[in-house]
């Protein structure tokens, strides 16, 4: 099981910055996500209005979540499926294991599921003699390398061609050692062949869910590879892992959210496979699973309702926030230390693991606001990160040096006269000290800043002083 390294964010980030393979991957892939989303958004004039609609649908659902959960369960039962309510990760793991054991499962194929990562279901199944096989290409190599995904829609974001080749050679020892990987296609073909036999042999298929639909009792998955569909169609038993906030009322609500999901995520107008599953095989059907189970997981979600973090439950896991984040773009996903990286992870992870564990994450932000500006459900991510900083401060988890300096600044900020005198002295003396070179290479107490860049010297006058002077001169009207 992967223990969270979120408390070591700073060390993780330093290592990430010094990792040439990771930096190569980030430089290659970062800009393409941004360009693809921009092109898809430009192609749909109604996109901004659709973001409002998406936000409103999610807000409506959360405000009546108890009603929709009960309605959903009723409709799953009516279509021949089962709902297993699980308050936490332990309960969810035990439930999945129990279903697999009752099905006498030996191998289980899996579609990509972030909640599956969150409850670390693979390690639990392995510990009980059941072999889980990830079938999404990115998740597959992550499993071969025994890592966490570094991105919520592109798990292998941090890897390069040579990493793929190395992992495949090491794991697929039944194939000729002298085979050649000339291009990406060769990797893809080898994975397709390997996983095709896994699909055909597996006893249980586990998928996540992008949405649950209350009106019909359906679960919805969105994929491009088709692995999720093979996972849920071929085995005798289909298990859906879903957290509470995946709920939407109707197919029409879901459809509106789908219009913003793929565009925000991969920049496609629509993903290749958007599949609605409702219950088990029907009379006369020639294929499909005989059992359909939904493992409905709370694991901290209900505790966010009614708090300042409720907005986070609108998240549809598109990854636009991390794709546009300068911090994610510099350090990648693993530095965040757990399942959810980037801005959405910086808000969600402290909520799920505790701010004492993940307090660094909401601080790892430049507050540039790009994440909020691209979020398809308009989650105010910077504001939520600020809420976590406040909570961290209230709980005295903020480092002593930060607290002392903040207290000092606050003392001056509440005394405008003193503030002006102090800043004026500082500006004048720094201006005088730097009068020759106009910048500082080194400065006491500011080593963190001057280590990587020069600090420009002030010109001798504060903003306040200059503004007042220019007012007097009639420059501002």
């Amino acid at each position: 099981m992967h223990v969270s390294t979120a408390p070591a964010f700073k060390a993780n980030a330093h290592r990430a910055l010094a990792n040439p393979g990771l930096q190569k991957a980030l430089a290659r892939s970062g800009p393409s996500f941004i360009a693809r989303r921009a092109a898809a958004v430009a192609g749909l004039p109604e996109f901004e209005q659709l973001r409002d609609t998406a936000r409103d649908i999610k807000n409506h659902t959360l405000a009546h979540l108890d009603f929709y959960l009960e309605e959903y369960e009723r409709n799953v039962l009516a279509s021949g499926g089962k709902v297993h309510w699980c308050t936490d990760a332990d309960a969810a793991r035990a439930t999945v294991l129990d279903i697999c054991q009752k099905a006498n499962a030996r191998t289980v194929t899996k579609g990509k599921s972030m909640i599956g990562e969150e409850i670390a279901i693979n390690h639990h199944l392995e510990a009980h003699g059941i072999t889980p096989i990830e079938t999404d290409l990115g998740e597959y190599i992550i499993q071969l390398r025994d890592e966490l995904p570094s991105h919520i829609i592109a798990p292998a974001f941090h890897l390069n061609m040579e990493d793929w080749e190395e992992a495949f050679r090491k794991s697929h020892t039944d194939l000729p050692a002298d085979r050649v990987f000339n291009e990406r296609r060769d990797i893809l073909t080898e994975a397709r062949t390997k996983l095709r036999s896994a699909f055909l042999q597996s006893d249980v298929g586990i998928t996540g869910a992008n949405f649950l639909i209350a009106a019909t009792g359906s679960s919805v998955i969105v994929t491009n590879e088709g692995n999720g569909d093979l996972t849920q169609t071929l085995p005798r038993v289909h298990i859906v892992l879903a957290s509470l906030e995946k709920m939407v009322p109707t197919i029409e609500d879901c459809t509106s959210l789908l219009r913003v999901l793929a565009r925000s995520a991969t920049g496609q107008d629509f993903s290749v496979y958007t599949t609605f599953s409702t219950g088990a095989r029907r009379p006369g059907d020639l294929d499909g699973p005989e059992e359909y189970h939904v493992v409905l997981i709370d694991n901290g979600r209900s505790a966010m309702i009614g708090t300042e973090f409720q907005d986070m439950l609108r998240c549809i896991r598109c990854a636009a926030c991390m794709n546009h984040c300068p911090v994610y773009g510099a350090v990648g996903g693993h530095a965040y230390g757990w399942v959810y990286p980037g801005p959405m992870g910086s808000v969600l992870t402290p909520g799920l693991l505790g701010v004492d564990q993940a307090g660094h994450l909401p601080n790892a932000s430049t507050f540039c606001g790009k994440c909020e500006s691209v979020c398809p459900v308009r989650i105010p991510l910077p504001k939520l990160m600020r809420h976590w900083r406040e909570r961290e401060f209230e709980r005295h988890l903020t480092p002593a040096a930060v607290r002392t300096n903040l207290a000092l600044w606050a003392w001056f900020a509440r005394r405008p006269q003193m503030y002006r005198i102090a800043t004026s002295i500082a500006a004048r003396s720094l201006g005088w000290l730097g009068r020759k070179k106009r910048s500082f290479k080194h400065l006491p107490f500011a080593g963190g800043w001057t280590q990587d860049r020069d600090l420009p010297a002030p010109e001798g006058e504060t903003f306040f002083a200059r503004y007042a002077r220019e007012q007097r001169q009639g420059l501002h009207r």
Binding site: W85, E225, L230, T250, T278
Partner: protein, 223 residues
């Protein structure tokens, strides 16, 4: 019990007990009425232009389309496509009455087996319930006569779509589904182009786990 614990925790968060009857009635009304939201204007076109938009979108997503005037021309279109791709002339076909109604004897070299797909099938022929012009999407709901495996296991999937079944927006296709199939079938796949992955270096490669090729035979029976 976990169910009650979760529902109670949700209500605690919402700072209320179970919803009163009038609110429940209002929410039930919303579920039954399933109101539509904003539908993008791009697909609000005369039908002939919707057909063109559909074809453009399928091709944009790396699928291919052959337009034929009627069912009589379908065997020729299928045979020509298979020959052009150097594919075998045998395929597995959905046991759907509309596919059975195709005069296959026009092309006696074509061999078909009806049923679900097996791992060894190279080509499948599926029947589309509807097409959606907005994004070039096929709606393929499961049924005895439309097995899901036909969408997944073969390297090449050919789909027969009648132009009269082509609509502008997803919402129109959902209305058709409700009207003709009653409730939700076990599985509804919305398929937009052939299978692909960008997991290796975030670079698009076609043919991940599903079909490497998606070919639509569009029967222009609408006007």
């Amino acid at each position: 019990m976990s169910r009650d614990a979760i529902l109670n925790a949700v209500r605690r968060g919402l700072k209320r007990g179970p919803l009163p009857a009038d609110q429940i009635a209002m929410l039930r009304g919303r579920l039954d009425g399933h109101p539509r939201h904003l539908i993008p204007a791009r697909s609000r076109l005369p039908h002939a232009e919707q057909v063109d938009l559909f074809v453009r979108n399928v091709e944009k997503e790396f699928g291919s389309v052959t337009r034929v005037p009627d069912l009589d021309a379908v065997p020729g279109a299928v045979a020509d496509f298979l020959a052009a791709q150097n594919l075998p002339t045998s395929f597995v076909m959905a046991p759907h009455p509309e596919l059975r109604a195709v005069p296959w004897s026009n092309r006696p070299l074509l061999e078909m087996r009806e049923g679900r797909a097996q791992a060894t099938d190279q080509v499948s022929l599926q029947h589309a319930f509807a097409g959606i012009a907005e994004t070039g999407t096929l709606m393929l709901p499961s049924a005895a006569e439309r097995p899901t495996t036909l969408n997944l296991l073969a390297d090449t999937e050919i789909v027969l779509l009648r132009a009269s079944r082509l609509v502008g927006a997803y919402e129109e296709a959902w209305d058709l589904l409700r009207a003709e199939m009653g409730g939700m079938p076990r599985n509804v796949m919305l398929v937009t182009g052939p299978s692909r992955s960008a997991d290796i270096e975030q670079t698009l490669e076609l043919g991940a786990h599903g079909p490497r090729q998606l070919h639509v035979v569009l029967v222009e029976d609408a006007g």
